[in-house]
Point group: C2
Chain length 476, copies 2
């Protein structure tokens, strides 16, 4: 079948031919071949990257389609790349220097806000911050809140989540339309930018291209739903006895604060200490609590309406202080509180050698699950310092920890396997709650995904990328 | 390939054998063969149904899997069916009496609310009302608002929308997990009920089984996200000059009322008149306006919080009365207002021979599009009375109209084609915004869907239903 499809290109082009053709058609900005210039396209945001044979950067969907045809005709392997902010090495080439990087960086031909439709159509190369700057001019926002500033194409491919998923969902729940190019010999362009809020006519390319990490095609454009920009927020940092109490508190506060709850983040005492000891770190509590919670409530309705979120939050908190669910509370310092939240990852990394996890379980399993994780770590690597934090409101936890520099790799591997087994096999949880799947965690994908799902992925790979040239992982 | 797969069952069983085996294994409640008893499974909610060879009703996912294996072994064709409330004939057998109905009615083995996870796991045979009754006991709700009371399995398969999609999304945006059975010779059970809010690990059976109308498998169980139950609502019926003004009003009110807007429904003057003349119908305005809007705002926060939605709504309305966007307003009669909305379909049908459409365009195209539709109708069928209404907040419109009883079928066909062409080809809209695709509208699916999407559907049909025995449509 593969050979049959390759017959579209009976004569395979040499790499030199390919480069000449790309340069002639796409211009000099499109091609990067010098080692120094390639570096930015080779490094992953967290895990080490690889070596790119070359980087090609088409500037429109048409150029993307043509480029993919050329790459396939030359029988080269290529990896789609956005802003390289992902954490699973999904957008970087392998070490052997054989793969090309197909960058969406120059896909910036449209960024249009449709105010009446409350949507934006945006080319894959724009950043989240570009989109939100344009949306804010119309009192609107794309409410995916992340620590990094990814490209729109990368966000769609990765189906990013973030701190406000609890209220708004992830990318998939806010994606009205998507356009992409498949790795078929024809470089088939698929999808649209119709911007319909409703279109219930069966299969949609959103289902193929969003949350599949570029495995089946390259995202070139997205139409996303925008939300009214928040006009007031209230934020608090709450000390609680345990993560179990934090979950009880979540339910109690959701009952009192309803649709306003836009973030509910858990932070362990050790993670708070890491931030306190970090350069420029804040200490807000007189004594580090065992566990803390950041709650944010927000509304697109301003104070002039009579709605006062800060007093609403304080009232709800007082009730739970009286109920004993809250031990101590800090309010009125939103910037300091969010700075703590956003420094966590770096502060923990600053303590030494970090081992990171991106897990999720049901909210109702969270507290027990976390306790079990701590037991596993204490047994396997007693010297590890667990500094976990995460999106409690959606059951997510970054079970990050610091381990001695000289610990054997085998011990870490065992620990990882045991934590993932606990998560997936015992707690029916996710080994990749929001970061997606890439070479970094493909091993666990292969371990935990069922055969029927892999068969289906195999079918799609075979259909949409018949020569197996796209991407640095296969989901089958 | 099909023949190859059928080799799993080298000996085809006779219909009599099949019935005996089903009866012996599933018990007498599972099998319906008498003409009188079959009737309820043969009639569509709007369009005429067909004739079932027999009806089989397994009572668990395991029984469903076994039943599908048996049906395939006997080489019979079967259509999955929930509560038969759909409007595109998607769940009824053909006229020739050859197809079986595979009912999910007795799949009622689980309805569990997980309060801390804010989710419910529910077997396909329960109704929306069953789920919401169970959820309400915990102050929670599944916020899909429909005129009918469908089964959960049907809702998932059809990806139902409804009047509150504007705020909450449809089924897909609220579906945490799904279980189903494929029409493979093995009756493969797929999916899960893990209830994770986040699990970003690639393909999910939600993407295959939700919004594909049972074409690729039968939904047996769903885990859905629940929302805090509303504690206050405010509703108004507003007279406006035109649908263009209604859209301007939508933007103005969304800017002032933010996340509270839970419904924004448009109603034409002719549709209001139809309700007024309907038995028990209400007249709320002294003179019928050219166009009207129902707005509902709601919150899970009660009045004790200081938030008063009714005064908020009145304040926002007064502003737009002064701006001239609102001509007249009725507030404080939520039940009467919603009764008008819910009587629309029946009232219009009561006027005579109804021709119905389920269209959507971008909100920003809506007003122009509606004007163009009215022009097409006036030209093609001058005697038609257009009584349109719809979900303006998401660009949806039920362009329903009453035509003379004796009008030629060819004229109606031409009208339909012209309206659909206008919707899809000129306005990039949807020919089935929320009702899905079934035999009733398959013709337009075939006309408007692109080849790449149909190829993909073909691939999936071939893989998940290799003997082509499931369903009354093919999406390829």
């Amino acid at each position: 079948m593969s050979a049959h499809k390759e017959s579209h290109h009976p004569i395979s082009r040499s790499p030199e031919d390919l480069m000449k053709r790309l340069l002639a058609s796409l211009g000099p900005l499109a091609l990067i071949t010098q080692p120094f210039d390639k570096q930015a396209y080779e490094m992953g945001a967290r895990h080490a990257g690889g070596v790119a044979r070359a980087v090609v950067r088409p500037a429109s969907a048409e150029e993307m389609s043509w480029t993919i045809k050329e790459l396939l005709a030359a029988r080269v392997h290529f990896v789609a790349q956005g802003a390289v902010t992902g954490l699973v090495s999904g957008a970087t080439p392998t070490q052997d220097g054989s793969q090309w990087v197909l960058s969406t960086q120059r896909l910036r031909d449209v960024l249009e806000v449709d105010v009446i439709n409350r949507s934006a159509t945006v080319a894959a190369g724009f950043r989240l911050s570009d989109l939100n700057k344009a949306a804010a001019e119309h009192g609107l926002t794309f409410p995916i809140d992340l620590g990094s500033d990814p490209s729109i194409g990368g966000m769609v491919a990765t189906n990013t989540g973030g701190a406000r998923l609890l209220r708004y969902g992830g990318v998939r729940e806010n994606l009205l339309d998507v356009q992409g190019v498949l790795a078929t010999p024809e470089g088939t362009q698929v999808g649209g930018a119709r911007g319909l809020w409703k279109n219930n006519t069966g299969l949609s390319w959103k289902q193929l291209l969003c949350g599949t990490f570029g495995a089946f095609g390259v995202v070139t454009r997205a139409t996303v739903k925008l939300h009214p920009l928040q006009k007031q927020t209230a934020t608090a940092l709450l000390a609680v006895e345990s993560s179990a109490m934090a979950m009880q508190l979540l339910c109690a506060l959701e009952a009192d604060l309803g649709e306003f709850v836009s973030a509910f983040e858990g932070i362990s005492g050790a993670a708070l200490d890491a931030v306190a000891n970090h350069p420029g770190g804040s200490v807000l509590f007189p004594h580090t609590p065992r566990y803390a919670v950041l709650i944010e409530i927000s509304s697109a309705i301003g104070l002039e309406s009579g709605l006062n979120l800060e007093s609403l939050l304080i009232h709800a908190m007082e009730k739970q202080l009286n109920n004993g669910l809250i031990l101590d509370a800090i309010v009125g310092k939103p910037e300091q509180i969010w700075r703590i939240r956003h420094s966590l990852s770096e502060a923990v990394q600053g303590l030494g050698r970090m081992i990171a996890f991106d897990l999720a379980v049901k909210r109702s399993s969270f507290a027990l699950f976390r306790d079990r994780c701590l037991e596993v770590v204490a047994k396997q690597v007693p010297s590890a310092l667990v500094c976990d934090f995460g999106h409690l409101g959606d059951g997510g936890v970054h079970l990050n920890m610091v381990v001695p520099q000289d610990i054997e790799a085998a011990r870490i591997d065992e620990l990882r396997d045991e934590i993932y087994d606990l998560t997936v096999l015992e707690y029916d949880g996710s080994f990749s709650a929001e970061h997606g799947v890439g070479p970094y965690n493909l091993k666990w994908y292969q371990r935990y995904l069922d055969d029927a799902t892999k068969d289906w992925a195999h079918l799609l790979h075979f259909h949409f990328d018949p020569n197996a040239k796209l991407g640095n992982i296969r989901l089958d």
